[in-house]
C-alpha cells in the first residue's frame, strides 16, 4: 500500500472508530465506560499535540500541560463573558498558540536543550503568574458559570483526538513532514539543503500548542471548575509525553496505543497501588527509553516484520 493510501486508510479507520466512540452516549453504554473513553481521547489528543512537536522534531517540551491549562483558562474566561462555545474554544486555542510563540521565538532559534529548559521554566512560571492574576481568580481558581451537557465536551474531545491523529499521520507523509524529520535526524544538514528550520519548528510548535490549548478548553467544559494547582500540575505535562513515549514516539498510532494503555493502567493502579502512580509512570518511561526505544508500536512492527521474513522461506520451500 502506498504511503498516501495508508494515511487514507488510517484516516478512514480513525473516523469510523471516532464516530462509534462519539455515538456511545446515545447507545446506552454505562457512564463509567463513557468516562474511560473520554479520558482515553483526552490523553490521546494531548499526546498527539506533544508528538507533533517533540516526536517529530526531537525538541522535548515539558510544558504541554501548562499550554492546555492556558487554553482552559482562556475558554472559561471567554465563556463566562457570554461568548458562544465556538468562540470560547477558539480563544483557548489562540491563547495557547500565542504563548507558544513567546517560548518558541526565544528558544527555538537555538539548537539543543534551550527549548527544553524554556518549557520547563514556562511550566513553573505560568502557575506562579496565574496565582497572582485577579482576572484568573488567583489561587482560588475559576468556575464555569453555565453548565453544559457532558455530551458536548465528550463529542468534542473524541473529534479532537481523531483529527489530531489524522493530522499527525498526514504530516508524517507530507513534504513538510519529510523536512521536519530531516531536522530531527540532522539539523545542520537540513539547514544546509535549504530548510528554514527555525520557521518550521516555530510553526509546528504553534500548531501543537493550539491543539494542546483546545484539549484544555474542552476539558475545562468537562470539569467545570479550574484550580491553578490542579490545572498546571506537572503531572499533566508528564502524561502528555509519557503517552506517546510508551506507545511509540513520532508515529501516528503511538499516542493512540499509549493513551488506551495508560487509561487502563490508571484504573488498575488506582486500586492496586493508589499512591505509586507517579513512580510507576516514571519507571515505565525509563524502561521504554532503555529497552524499547520506539515504544510498543515500533516493537510490534519489528516483531511483525521478523515473523514475515522468517515465514516466507518456509512457505516457498
Amino acid at each position: 500500500m502506498s504511503r498516501a493510501g495508508s494515511t487514507a486508510a488510517l484516516a478512514a479507520v480513525t473516523v469510523a472508530l471516532g464516530a462509534v466512540a462519539a455515538a456511545l452516549p446515545w447507545l446506552g453504554v454505562s457512564s463509567y465506560v463513557r468516562t474511560l473513553v473520554y479520558y482515553a481521547c483526552y490523553y490521546m489528543a494531548l499526546g498527539q499535540a506533544w508528538n507533533l512537536i517533540s516526536g517529530m522534531t526531537g525538541y522535548v517540551s515539558f510544558a504541554h500541560g501548562a499550554l492546555a491549562g492556558i487554553g482552559a483558562y482562556a475558554t472559561v474566561i471567554a465563556l463566562n463573558a457570554q461568548w458562544p462555545v465556538a468562540a470560547g474554544l477558539a480563544a483557548g486555542a489562540a491563547a495557547a498558540g500565542l504563548a507558544s510563540l513567546v517560548i518558541g521565538a526565544t528558544s527555538l532559534r537555538l539548537r539543543g536543550a534551550a527549548f527544553t529548559f524554556a518549557t520547563l521554566f514556562f511550566q513553573e512560571l505560568v502557575l506562579l503568574i496565574v496565582r497572582k492574576l485577579p482576572a484568573a481568580g488567583g489561587p482560588g481558581g475559576l468556575v464555569l458559570q453555565e453548565i453544559y451537557p457532558t455530551s458536548l465536551p465528550y463529542v468534542l474531545m473524541v473529534v479532537l483526538a481523531a483529527v489530531a491523529t489524522i493530522a499527525v499521520a498526514a504530516l508524517r507523509f507530507s513534504r513538510t513532514g519529510v523536512r521536519v524529520l530531516a531536522i530531527k535526524h540532522d539539523e545542520t544538514a537540513a539547514v544546509a539543503i535549504g530548510i528554514d528550520s527555525t520557521r518550521l519548528k516555530v510553526a509546528i510548535f504553534c500548531a501543537s500548542a493550539a491543539i494542546a490549548g483546545l484539549v484544555g478548553s474542552i476539558h475545562a467544559i468537562f470539569v467545570g471548575s479550574l484550580f491553578p494547582d490542579v490545572v498546571f500540575a506537572v503531572e499533566i505535562s508528564l502524561i502528555a509525553l509519557a503517552v506517546p513515549l510508551i506507545g511509540g514516539v513520532g508515529t501516528a498510532m503511538g499516542p493512540v496505543v499509549g493513551a488506551l494503555l495508560y487509561v487502563g493502567m490508571r484504573e488498575v493502579f488506582q486500586v492496586v497501588a493508589p499512591g505509586l502512580h507517579l513512580t510507576i509512570v516514571g519507571l515505565l518511561i525509563l524502561a521504554v527509553v532503555l529497552f524499547m526505544r520506539d515504544g510498543i508500536v515500533g516493537a510490534a512492527a519489528r516483531a511483525w516484520a521478523t515473523r514475515r521474513r522468517t515465514a516466507v522461506p518456509a512457505e516457498g520451500g
Partner: protein, 290 residues
C-alpha cells in the same frame, strides 16, 4: 531600607547563594563530563534532606551527622544510578538522555510523595542560637550551611583542578574521544563525576533540611534555581557560576523581603528567559560540539 536590614538580607542571600553554588557545581560537573542534563538532581537534594530528617527524628543524632551521611548515601546511589542507567544512554540521542533523567526525577518525586506524604517536616535539634554582628543577626544554622558549602565547593574544585582524577574529568569535558584514546578511563571517570555530583546534591539537601522544611518537592525548586545559575553563569568559568549563584541568592533574598516568595521566583525565571536570549550558545553557555 535601613543599613542593618540591607546587611541582614545580604547575609540571607549568601546562604542561599552557597547552597545554589553547590547544586550548580554538581549539574555542571555532570553536564561537562557526560553531556547529560540531570533533571533528577533535585530528587537527590530531597533524598539528603529526608535522610537527615530520619537520622535526627528516628536515631536522635545531631543533624550535623546528616552531612557525612548524605555525602556517603548520595555517592553510593549516584554510583549505582550512573552504572545502571545513565551509562546506557550517554551515547544515545539527546531525547533519550533528557527522558531518562526526567523519568528518574519522576520516580523519585513519586516515591518521596508516597513515602512521606505532603507534610512539611522539620526538626529542632542541632546548632541553635545566633551571632549578632552589629545588629545583623546570623543564625548558627545558617552559618553552618554557608561554611559547609564553602568547604565542599573548595574541595570539589581542588579535586577537579589539582588532583590526577580531575585531569581525567577535564580531559573528558574537552573531548571525549581524544581523552579515551589518551588512556583516560572513561567509564571510571564518568562514574566518579556523577557520584561526586550526587553526593554534593544530597549534602546540599542535608543542609536544606537544617534551615528550612522538607517536602517531597523541596529539591525541585532548588534544582530549577540551580539550572538558572548554570545557564546564567556558564559552564566555562567557575567565577561566572559563583557570581551567578550569589547573584540569584541576593535576588531571592531581597525580592522575597520586598515582594514575596512567588515574585522572587517569577523574577528569577524571567531572568532565565533573558539569559536564553543573550547567551545564544544554547545550553549552559558553551558551544555545542559538532
Amino acid at each position: 531600607m535601613s543599613l542593618t536590614l540591607f546587611f541582614q538580607l545580604l547575609a540571607n542571600g549568601l546562604v542561599v547563594g552557597g547552597l545554589l553554588g553547590i547544586v550548580a557545581l554538581g549539574l555542571a560537573l555532570i553536564f561537562g563530563v557526560m553531556r547529560v542534563v540531570n533533571f533528577a538532581h533535585g530528587e537527590f537534594i530531597t533524598l539528603g534532606a529526608y535522610a537527615t530528617y530520619l537520622l535526627v527524628t528516628q536515631l536522635g543524632a545531631s543533624p550535623l551527622f546528616g552531612i557525612p551521611l548524605a555525602l556517603a548515601l548520595g555517592g553510593a546511589i549516584g554510583w549505582l544510578i550512573q552504572a545502571g542507567v545513565i551509562a546506557r544512554v550517554t551515547e544515545r540521542p539527546e531525547l533519550d538522555m533528557l527522558m531518562t533523567t526526567y523519568a528518574l526525577s519522576v520516580v523519585g518525586l513519586g516515591a518521596f510523595a508516597a513515602g512521606f506524604g505532603g507534610d512539611f517536616r522539620s526538626y529542632s535539634a542541632g546548632p541553635s542560637g545566633s551571632l549578632d554582628l552589629a545588629g545583623v543577626v546570623v543564625g548558627w544554622r545558617s552559618l553552618t550551611v554557608l561554611l559547609t558549602c564553602l568547604v565542599m565547593g573548595a574541595a570539589t574544585l581542588l579535586l577537579v583542578q589539582r588532583a590526577r582524577v580531575g585531569l581525567g574529568l577535564r580531559a573528558l569535558a574537552q573531548n571525549r574521544d581524544a581523552a579515551a584514546s589518551c588512556g583516560i578511563n572513561v567509564i571510571a571517570s564518568e562514574r566518579l563525576a556523577f557520584s561526586a555530583a550526587v553526593a554534593l546534591a544530597a549534602a546540599a539537601g542535608a543542609l536544606v533540611s537544617l534551615i528550612g522544611t522538607t517536602t517531597p518537592t523541596v529539591g525541585h525548586g532548588w534544582v530549577l534555581d540551580g539550572f538558572v545559575v548554570v545557564m546564567l553563569g556558564g559552564l566555562g568559568s567557575v567565577a561566572g557560576a559563583l557570581v551567578a549563584a550569589f547573584g540569584i541568592g541576593f535576588v531571592q533574598s531581597f525580592a522575597s523581603y520586598l515582594l514575596d516568595d512567588s515574585w522572587a521566583r517569577i523574577i528569577i525565571y524571567l531572568l532565565l528567559y533573558a539569559a536564553i536570549l543573550v547567551r545564544p550558545h544554547g545550553l549552559l553557555g558553551r558551544q555545542e560540539h559538532a
